[in-house]
Amino acid sequence: MSFLLDGEEVPFIPGQTIMEAARAAGKYIPHLCWDHEFAPHGSCKLCTVKVDGRFGAACTVAAHEGMNVDNRSAELDDKRRTLLQMLFVEGNHFCPSCEKSGDCKLQATAYELKMMSPHFDHFFPDRPVDASHPELLLDFNRCILCELCVRASRDTDGKNVFALSGRGIKTHLIVNSPSGRLADTDMAATDRAASVCPVGVILRKRRGFKVAIGNRTYDKAPISEQPQ
C-alpha cells in the first residue's frame, strides 16, 4: 500500500497517519505539536498538507491507498510561515537569551521555512516565570500550547502535572497544584515531561549553556534533514 507525497511514493501500513508513514520513510513534514511517542493532538496545524486538493493535518489524517499529498509546496509553506509568525509574536521569543536556542523546534522550523521576520505586531505579553522547583525552570513566555508536556505527564509519567486553561487567545499553560507552583507537584527532573518541551519552557536548571551555541542540534543540520 502506498500514496504519493510531493510526487514520491511512500509506503504505509493501514492505520498509519500520513505523518507516521512519512516519518517511517524518512520524509519531513513540518510539525510542532506532534511527537511519535504520543497520541496526535492536531492543534498547531503546522503539518497541514493537501490531500487530493483538500487541507488536512498530516498528524491526524489516515493514509489511504493512492492518495496524492502535497507537502512542501510554496502555498503550504507560506501558510506554515504565517502560523509560525503568529506563534512568535504571541509569546516572548528572544532567542539570543534563550537556553533552548539551537535545540528548539519552533526556531528550527522557522529557519527551515525561511522566516525572516515576525511580520505581525508583537503582543509582548506579561508571563512571569516559575523558578520554584529545585531542578526545573518554567518560562511560560515561550509556550506554544502544544500540550506535549500535558500528554507526557499524563500518559507516560502518570502524574498530570500540566494542563491548558482558558479559551481562545486567553489559553495558557497551568500547573496542577493548589498553589499553581511547580515545586508543589510531584514532578521530577527524570520525568518524560521534563524533557519533552519542543521550545524553551520546561528547562533543566544549571544546564543552560553546557553545549555552546553553534554546536547544538539544529546548528549541525536543518530540521528537515534530521530523524523526527
Binding site: S101, P118, H122
Partner: protein, 180 residues
Amino acid sequence: MKSKVKIATTSLAGCFGCHMSLLDIDLRLLDLVQLVDFDRSPINDIKRVGACDVGLIEGGVCNAENIEILRDYRKHCKILVAVGACAVNGGLPAQRNHLDLRDILEEVYQTSPGLAPGSAIPNDPELPLPLNKVHPIHEIVRVDYFVPGCPPPADALWKFLTDLIAGRTPVLGHGLLHYD
C-alpha cells in the same frame, strides 16, 4: 563605469554589535568599498542621510529620536533593511516591554540603593523622550528585507550585501539564518 551602490547605516536602540559584525567581514571590506559608497553611518562623520540605495538599520525603536531617524532613512533609502535581532523583533531592549516605563525610570534613577541623595529621573530637554514600549522597526515603517541574528554573522551580512548588490534576491542558507 557602473556607479557605486550608496549605503547608509545607523544604530537605533541597538548595541553596535551589528556594525561590529559588518566590520568583521575583515579583508572583504576592501572588496566592499569597491562596490559601495557609504552615506551617513557611524563609520564616518556624515550628519544627515542623503538619497541612498540601501539603508541598514540596527536596533529597534525605543524613543522619539529613533522614530525620526528611522522615518528619515525610510524616506531617503530605496531599500530599507532591518539588521539584527533588535531591529527585527525589538531584541534585548524590548525585554522591558512588560514593565511600566515610569516604574523602570523610578527604580533606576530614584529608588535603587546606592544613588546619591536627591537623584531624579533626568529630564533635560535634549534627551529624546522614551516610548512606552520598544518596537521592531517594521512596526513603524515599511521594511524591505530582514537579516536576523544577534548579531547576524559577518558571513550572513556579506552574503546578503553581495546578493543585493548583484541584483539577486538575498538568500541566507543553513548556518547563516540565525535568531541567536
